[in-house]
């Protein structure tokens, strides 16, 4: 069943992303929830069901491992609340599940809260500790998220004969956009020299080419278009929401893996374009928030999402086509590079950004003539991707 035109987003909220040492997991959820509720103009009793997006509950001792982690801080008891986790695609998958509930008539108002608390421990003690301490004892041991994506950049450079420059340009572009976003973790621009000369994290990715480790929360409230119209809300329509899983935990053992892109993104894109009725993504999508956990990821995302041809991704950024003034602005919010990546919150933050842009409320980072936006969330690394296409109702 297609979700097209069956779901409307009526409220969004987002905390500042960053090292929120003075806020705990519950505090951030309360803050983004409050902003979304005020935006939607509904009461807590109106919420029929909720979805909690937290990718790795163990990073915040155990919070987020059940729907009760949402019920307790928000005092939303007596209704179904589902905890969703799907690696870095967690946030968007939670929105997708909530959308299905609304589209099917199972819920009138659904709430999605994405939240991740990563900085109650040192930066290495969250994700790096996770790959060291969990996973198979020996098979695949030694891989980290930056490393797995870095392997694509090594292959991309060897195959297409480019150097690190276009990837560094992704970081420069997104940090520049992020400096216009008051909620971004890193609000300062960076120069290309700084990016290229920053300490190596996983060759060939440097520190400034990796999303920072961040805390944050983002929320969304959805309902049917009919209800949204009757409430006279400034609502945004869902045109498509997709999810595709195309690799297990071991894409590095797959001889068919070219290490030049991700099937999950390609397939999620195809599914979403079909659902939305989009035939030419480059022409029909006005702007996009794509998963730029690392600079290489954004470059292959352009190709995987059909914004450009295979092998031309590096040119797409190098020639300025994806800049805020370009023909298809990508990551006007500053993306994960600048916003940071509290994992479960990211997909929901992308929805927040799309809605804000489509409403014309994005201030200094406003994309001109924003009518159709795409959000892409990728996890795995590379095994699961989700695409959402949102548009103004007019």
């Amino acid at each position: 069943m297609s979700l097209k035109d069956k779901v409307a987003i009526i409220g969004v909220g987002c905390t500042k992303f960053g090292e929120n040492f003075n806020l705990d997991y519950k505090d951030m959820l309360v803050d983004s929830y409050t902003e979304a509720m005020e935006d939607a103009g509904i009461e807590p009793k109106d919420i029929d069901a909720a979805w909690l997006a937290t990718a790795f509950p163990d990073m915040a001792h155990f919070e987020g491992n059940s729907g009760s982690s949402l019920a307790e801080p928000l005092s939303l008891y007596g209704r179904p609340i589902t905890h969703v986790t799907n690696y870095c695609a967690t946030g968007m998958d939670a929105v997708r599940n909530a959308a299905m509930a609304v589209a099917s008539g199972n819920a009138r108002f659904a709430y999605i809260g994405g939240v991740e608390k990563m900085r109650d421990v040192g930066p290495r003690e969250s994700l790096i500790a996770q790959v060291v301490k969990t996973g198979h004892p020996v098979v695949g041991k030694g891989a980290t998220a930056p490393g797995m994506f870095a392997m694509l950049e090594t292959r991309y450079m060897a195959k297409y004969g480019v150097d690190r420059t276009p990837f560094a340009e992704v970081s420069v572009k997104n940090h520049a956009n992020g400096s216009l976003n008051p909620k971004a973790h890193f609000g300062r621009p960076v120069t290309i020299e700084a990016v290229l000369n920053a300490p190596m994290i996983a060759y060939p990715l440097s520190l400034y080419e990796c999303t920072p480790v961040s805390d944050g929360s983002a929320s969304a409230i959805i309902t049917t278009p009919e209800i949204a119209k009757s409430l006279k809300k400034d609502y945004i329509l869902v045109k498509a929401m997709s999810l595709s899983i195309d690799a297990g935990y071991t894409p590095q053992f797959d001889k068919y893996n070219e290490f030049l892109g991700f099937k999950a993104t390609q397939n999620a894109g195809v599914m979403a374009y079909k659902e939305a009725g989009i035939k030419n993504p480059h022409d029909e999508i006005d702007f996009a928030e794509v998963h730029d956990c690392f600079t290489i990821t954004e470059v292959v995302n352009y190709e995987d999402l059909q914004f450009c041809r295979r092998g031309d991704g590096w040119k797409f950024v190098h020639e300025g086509r994806s800049s805020l003034q370009g023909e298809l602005p990508v990551n006007p919010s500053g993306g994960l590079q600048s916003s940071g990546h509290p994992i479960g919150a990211t997909g929901v933050r992308m929805v927040y950004e799309l809605v804000t842009q489509l409403r014309g409320k994005a201030g200094k980072r406003q994309v001109k003539n924003a009518r159709v936006g795409l959000a892409h969330n990728l996890g795995g690394p590379g095994s699961v991707a989700s695409v959402a296409i949102l548009a103004r109702p007019d």
Partner: protein, 466 residues
């Protein structure tokens, strides 16, 4: 009569210069030569496996026994030989034995292999390895090194060399020792231990050998001895007017005394240098001495010793050596990986023998193992085959955040010659020069010590350009 049908030499690639050791101790940089240093991810068991792999044992298809000799086996209780047997791509032999406690353990094992063969067991693998430590900055530390060697022993027909005669003499003495609670070598003063521990007993063993075999000094063209140092080695040889082969001398000068494997390495160096028909006497001392007389019966098509000695990567400093041997104190909280003895047991074929699975329905070859074929969805319909030793790098990265004693953890996905893609960490390579398209070979290593036991797996070494 027992004969050597195959042999393998495994020397760690890292080297530490003796002059660097002298400088670290506050000296002016005196001292010639260098020693071989095992990497942080090696132990005697992994080196024993790698020596076996160098021998060509993968082509054998079966074994009747596997003997492992070491004074530094990674477990005091738990057989290393049983584990080593599981790294081979065929059913493990019924008889696995661990030899230890004396530097002549490898020749002890050989003598007993002969007895075992006479009672019916026809094919025996023997692998010997040691990584020993002496006090930091000591003289003894400069004379010892790390290394391994292996033999495949068969009935004598079509051998490279046959064992003609063996004698043994036992002697109780405290010359060098390590208690089960000691990490470092202990020893008495040199004049006593060299005279009684080595020279006298070796002379006695040699004399006894001549008497019992009826051979004369003139019948022996080569002598290999695991002497404590090069001076004693050359002095002993001089008494019977023999010179060592250049490769043998290089073992002393560039590798160091590699414990249990040293006598065997000396023997193999002399064997490679000998002519067909010549006799090689192997004198293996410690707690007495063994004398083994081999005759070379075939040319060696592919010698290994020169390449193994010459292939090297220098450590930058003595400091690096201390880090590799885990002698640097740190109170940083370690991150311990999840592990499970049950998983180790269940996954031996996948993890130790590194077998791939081939779907009998569609022929697709994959690793790691799944029950449902990814290509045709056939369930539980696989056969198992070994993954080739070598492959070509498809892509790689160098991780600076993943904890590693080297400060960087390099990983690579390589297309293996046998036709699948394998992802492993990379070790013992020039990380600054790593490139897509380089050739790699898999090497058995220890990944970590989580769970209170050793967790072994495979890594890649870069072996050359495409």
């Amino acid at each position: 009569m027992i004969g050597i049908s195959k042999y393998g030499v495994y020397l760690p690639v890292k080297r530490l210069k003796i002059e660097e050791m002298d400088r670290a101790a506050g000296g002016p940089g005196r001292g010639k030569g260098e020693k071989a240093v095992a990497s942080f991810d090696e132990d005697s068991l992994t080196m024993g496996v790698n020596a076996l792999y160098e021998s060509g044992i993968l082509d054998e298809g079966s074994l009747d026994a596997l003997f492992f000799a070491s004074t530094t086996a990674p477990y005091l209780e738990k057989s290393a030989a049983a584990l080593i047997a599981e790294t081979l791509p065929f059913a493990p032999p019924n008889f696995t034995v661990d030899f230890s406690s004396t530097l002549r353990a490898a020749s002890n094992a050989l003598i007993l292999a002969q007895n075992f063969q006479e009672s019916g067991g026809s094919k025996i693998a023997l692998t010997a390895a040691d990584i020993r430590l002496a006090d930091v900055y000591s003289a003894e530390e400069r004379a010892i090194g790390d290394g391994a060697a292996a033999l495949v022993l068969t009935s004598g027909a079509d051998s490279l060399a046959v064992l003609k005669y063996a004698t043994s003499t036992s002697q109780e003495i405290l010359d060098t020792w390590r208690k089960n609670t000691d990490q470092l070598l202990k020893m008495t003063e040199p004049h006593f231990r060299f005279k009684y521990g080595f020279t006298d007993v070796v002379t006695r063993a040699f004399t006894q050998f001549l008497k019992q075999s009826g051979m004369g000094v003139g019948d022996i063209q080569h002598v290999a001895i695991n002497a404590p140092n090069v001076k004693l080695f050359l002095g002993t040889l001089k008494q019977i007017n023999l010179e060592p082969a250049p490769l043998t001398l290089r073992l002393y000068q560039e590798i160091g005394h590699t414990g249990v494997s040293f006598g065997l390495l000396n023997f193999l160096a002399e064997l490679e240098s000998a002519k067909v028909g010549e006799n090689i006497l192997w004198l293996d001392y410690s707690d007495g001495a063994n004398a083994l007389l081999f005759r070379k019966t075939q040319e060696i098509e592919q010698p290994q010793m020169g390449k193994a000695i010459s292939e090297k990567i220098y450590l930058n400093s003595y400091n690096d050596f201390l880090r590799l041997r885990n002698l640097v104190v740190s109170e940083a909280a370690p991150m311990e990986p999840f592990t499970s003895a049950v998983m180790n047991f269940r996954e031996k074929r996948q993890n130790y023998a590194l077998m791939a699975q081939r779907c009998k329905n569609c022929g697709e070859v994959t690793y790691p193992h799944n029950r449902i074929c990814r290509k045709c969805n056939a369930k539980d319909n696989f056969e198992y085959l070994p993954i080739s030793r070598e492959g070509t790098i498809f892509t790689f990265t160098k991780e600076y955040l993943y904890p590693s004693p080297e400060g960087v953890a390099v990983t690579a996905s390589a297309d293996m010659d046998s036709g699948l893609r394998l992802f492993l960490q990379v070790t013992d390579s020039d990380y600054d020069k790593i490139e897509v398209g380089q050739r790699v070979r898999r090497t058995f290593r220890k990944l970590h010590d989580a769970g209170g036991f050793h967790n072994y797996f495979w890594k890649f070494r870069v072996i050359g350009e495409k």
